[in-house]
Structures are given as C-alpha cells and as structure tokens.
Symmetry: C2
Subunit: 120 residues, 2 copies
C-alpha cells in the first residue's frame, strides 16, 4: 500500500507542540512531523543522526559552539553525539527523520519527553 | 561541523536530470536532491525503502497497481520490493532519502544509471 503524504494536511491534524507524530516508516527510521515553540531541553543522541527540515516558521538549533537558524526549505542533520537545543520564538512546523526508538530528548528526561509517538 | 542546507541554493548548483546529488549523510542513508523530467525506468529496490519529497513541480510515480502524483509539500515512501517508475511532464525538483549504496535504477541498468553520486 503506497499512500502519499500531504504535509499541510497532516499538520492540520494536530495542535500539540513538542510531540512528534509518525507519518511514515523509512527503513529503520520514522518520518515525523512536529510543531514546536519555545525552548526545548539540551540533549544529544549517542547513536543517532537526526534530520530537521523546516516547513513553516523559523527554528534555531543551539549548539555548544554556535547555532544554526533554519527557515522554510532549509534542513540540517545533527550528527550523533552533538549536543543541541531547538528554540523557536513562534510556532514552527518541521519534518524530523530519525531512527525508530529514538528518544527526542536523548538521555535527558524532562516534562517534554514523549515516551510513545502517535501515528497520524 | 553542523551546516544548514538551503534546498533552493543547492538546486541552483546543478542542472543535469536524473542524476541525484548527495547533500547530507543521515545514519545509513544519504539525503539527495534530484531534478527529473520525462520517464524513468521501471525498477525496484529489494532491500531499501525510498522517500520522495517534491519541492517543485508535479511527479507521478507509476506503480504496477496504480499511481501516486505528488506536488510540492507532498512525499511518499516506496517500500522495498515495490516496482515503480517516476514520470514528470515538466521538470521536478525533489528530495530523495535512501540507504547509502543504493542504485537508483535498482537491479535494472540503463543509460540513466548513475554509478557514483556527486556530492554538492
């Protein structure tokens, strides 16, 4: 079964922030959509690279030695082991691609930690 | 080294069609950009799922039992083993995410087969 995914339509299905939703399986990874606003927690993923692609809004990813700011049509891969903290002044819509089973807060457990990702 | 990738800027760096360019490593996969127009070859990938995200234009992916047509902001994952043929009436800009080492024409070798992907 091959079904196309319209990102705008999928983003219309949820409103909660910092709670990535799975939209597709891709080999050992999930494709997820998230809405984020405010400051996330500093964290890293020991074994997983993580892709962020911004669809709407402006996302800053703070790093220990700098930062990158992404607008629509811009992406970045945060390599495994690199500490980072996403920050968004206004709501951002983004696509995440990362290995199945990843904790989006890495080894840090916070109030924002999602223990099971919903599928939309 | 964490460097953001602006898709429009990267698409401006090449003009050749059906010749995906690597823009990032993501775990065991590559993130690639491609410009395509016309009809590709029927093929499948025995072991690899393949993600297509359309940035510009309209891409039809023919399947043996139907087809999907993607516009900007739409994506599809073609699961491993599923025969498919991309077709674009006008030039399409797309993001591909697929395991490193994949042959974009699968087991089929044609004039379109790229044996080594450039990195931009």
């Amino acid at each position: 079964m091959v079904t196309k995914i319209n990102l705008a339509e999928k983003f219309g299905r949820f409103a909660d922030q910092w709670s990535p939703k799975i939209v597709a399986d891709l080999n050992d990874s999930h494709v997820k959509l998230a809405k984020v606003q405010g400051e996330f927690v500093w964290h890293s993923h020991a074994d997983e690279d993580e892709l962020f692609l911004v669809i709407q809004g402006e996302l800053t990813i703070e790093l220990r030695d700098g930062q990158v700011t992404l607008g629509p049509g811009e992406l970045v891969v945060i390599p495994k082991g690199v500490e980072h903290r996403p920050v968004a002044r206004e709501e951002v819509q983004l696509v995440l691609i990362e290995p199945k089973g990843i904790k989006h807060t890495g080894d840090v457990v916070s109030d924002l930690t999602v223990h099971e990702y919903a599928r939309i």
